[in-house]
């Protein structure tokens, strides 16, 4: 079903930000909207957005492929993205991620058996003074978790699990 049918208000609000003759600018916010529910963007959604904006599906797909926060495959409900760039690594981010992998029993890029969390190693998140840190990308957007330990991360995961149950 089209975003225009499922989220008419949001689509209207997004389009109102840009000049009508340049509505292609809305492609990124619309992709976030499409990704919101399922956690990834499928072919149908790309087709829908292409039609809404008068561009080709290939053009939409090229945006999805170019930017790292868009996903075209289903993974865990939440993506836990640990920054391991230089400044974070100087403050123990690599060891943190390794220990977290050990605790969760998964490797980087894998998902916990319950399908809740996919663990990823990502580039700088502009929180270099608060490492180790990660962001959680999920249905309610993106949240930062800073100055983390493995124990506190396990608490974050437990909270995500509880939140998931409440939604059901």
């Amino acid at each position: 079903m089209s975003l225009e049918t499922t989220h008419p208000q949001e689509v209207k609000q997004i389009l109102s930000k840009y000049p009508p003759e340049h509505k292609r600018s809305a492609v990124m916010p619309l992709l976030y909207l499409a990704q919101h529910e399922a956690g990834y963007i499928n072919r149908d959604a790309m087709q829908d957005i292409a039609q809404l904006l008068g561009i080709t599906e290939t053009e939409v797909a090229s945006i999805v492929g170019f930017y790292t926060l868009y996903h075209d495959k289903q993974e865990g409900k939440y993506r836990m993205q640990v920054c391991t760039d230089l400044p974070c690594a100087l403050r123990g981010a690599d060891e943190f991620l390794e220990n977290l992998c050990g605790r969760l029993g998964i490797r980087i890029g894998e998902t916990t058996p319950d399908g809740l969390v996919t663990l990823e190693s990502v580039m700088c998140l502009a929180a270099c003074d608060k490492a180790p840190m990660f962001q959680v990308q999920g249905p309610s957007g993106i949240q930062y978790h800073e100055n983390m330990t493995v124990d506190r991360t396990m608490e974050v995961i437990a909270a995500l699990k509880r939140a998931g149950r409440e939604v059901k």
Binding site: P29, L53, L90, R91, M123, Q135, Y144
Partner: protein
């Protein structure tokens, strides 16, 4: 001294409209719109010596004066894509002192006669974008944004726009492509954005910190601003300090403060972790040349301004100071930076796209079973990438590699022996 930019450190409630207004907020914008011509505003900013805080250090007033007045409409875009490893200042400014930033955007708009501005935030600043939307709505409700401001004919709207995870979108023409709904790949320049920017219209792109400087400059005057800092680098700067220091964080200091004061000052970095020695400094994040320190007092006593840092064979850039102590292997550092740039290369220019790939492979080989010949080859690949790409990313990717091999050769012979 109280803060000019990080004012929330002195007044924690300044992110509330009422508190901001009670402390002189929006007076600069009112003064501009009701009492100054746009080019007079530009003139004050020009005279203040304010230079772009995103890394290039280009004079802000001069950029504004380049706006093409024969082509309309005009746009202002605030670059809030903050993605350089080691940089985390714009986020704190927008979270702590959002109205001063937004007032700076508004004044820039008035100065170049733009009636629409976009704040382009990196996608990870999801919550921050929502926060700014709320602040923009409060400004609209209070009559600081919208139609016929302060009883004049001037109207202005500001919108936020989220990127989606791409370092390259911090480059201004890639940012504009992204804002137009395309892949974030840099344009061929010239023409520059003040002539051909968003939707092909004259556009001023300024960094968040740059714009946040504008309201106090308009209120206190160009001479006041020049009295802070050094002749070549006027004003204050937010230094993002990270790496092996005891107190990492943002520190607002006048240009010309020494590395020693930033790293060792009790109110600043408070010294190196475990009381180790500083081995190297990267003054501009992952894009930096590596400054050799190794206990050299002359280096630590160098003032941090654009010209002085250049005498050390590096650029101050965005002043994202990463401190490396004497336990850090420079080969490891370079592997990290190459990994970053390989991931973030947009793929448009072959030397950057392929060169980063080669550099990473070579570096991995040097660190496992490599030889001096591989170290030389790595340096050669890096040098051949220089000056051959459309934007600075291709250049940045080579800085740590070339200077690391040149200034810390022992770390590479050691790596080669492993």
């Amino acid at each position: 001294m109280s803060h000019v930019l990080l004012r929330h450190r002195d007044l924690p409630q300044i992110n509330q409209l009422q508190v901001y207004r009670n402390n002189g907020g929006f007076e600069a914008f009112r003064k501009a719109v009701t009492g100054m011509k746009p080019n007079e505003v530009t003139e004050v900013v020009k005279n203040s010596g304010l230079r772009g805080r995103g890394g290039a250090g280009f004079p802000t007033g001069m950029k504004w004066a380049f706006i093409d007045n024969k082509n309309w409409p005009h746009y202002v875009v605030a670059n809030a894509d903050e993605s350089e490893p080691g940089t985390f200042k714009d986020r704190e400014i927008m979270e702590g002192n959002p109205f001063q930033f937004l007032e700076g955007v508004a004044i820039a708009c008035y100065a170049v006669a733009a009636d629409t501005a976009y704040v382009y935030l990196r996608g990870e600043f999801w919550d921050l974008a929502g926060f700014l939307d709320q602040k923009i709505a409060e400004m609209e409700a209070a009559g600081y944004l919208g139609d016929k401001l302060f009883g004049t004919n001037y109207s202005l709207r500001i919108f936020t726009h989220l990127g989606a995870g791409a370092y390259i979108c911090g480059e201004e023409t890639a940012l504009l492509e992204s804002l137009e709904g395309k892949r974030g790949q840099p344009r061929v320049r010239p023409p520059f954005p003040p002539a051909y920017g968003l939707y092909g219209k004259p556009t001023i792109v300024n960094n968040v910190e740059t714009l946040t400087n504008v309201p106090p400059i308009l209120i206190n005057g160009a001479d006041w601003y020049k009295s802070l800092g050094t002749p070549d680098s006027a004003g204050v700067k937010v230094f993002s300090l990270s790496g092996r220091v005891r107190r990492p964080g943002n520190y607002e200091l006048p240009f010309g403060t020494t590395f020693r004061e930033l790293i060792y000052g009790e109110k600043n970095g408070a010294g190196v972790q475990d009381a180790r020695k500083v081995k190297a400094i990267m003054p501009a994040g992952a894009s930096s040349s590596l400054i050799l320190v190794n206990g050299d007092d002359k280096v630590l006593d160098t003032p941090m301004d654009y010209a002085s840092v250049r005498t050390l064979g590096a650029d101050l850039g965005s002043a994202s100071v990463i401190v490396l102590d004497d336990t850090v292997d420079i080969g490891w550092v370079i592997e990290k930076t190459i990994h970053f740039f390989k991931h973030e290369s947009c793929g448009k220019c072959t030397p950057c796209r392929e060169g980063n790939y080669w550099m990473l492979q070579l570096m991995e080989r040097v660190r496992s079973s490599g030889s001096q010949a591989d170290v030389d080859l790595l340096a050669g690949v890096a040098r051949q990438m220089q000056g051959k790409c459309l934007c600075a990313l291709g250049e940045f990717a080579t800085m740590a590699v070339v200077t690391g091999i040149e200034r810390f050769p022992q770390d590479f012979t050691k790596a080669a022996r492993v």
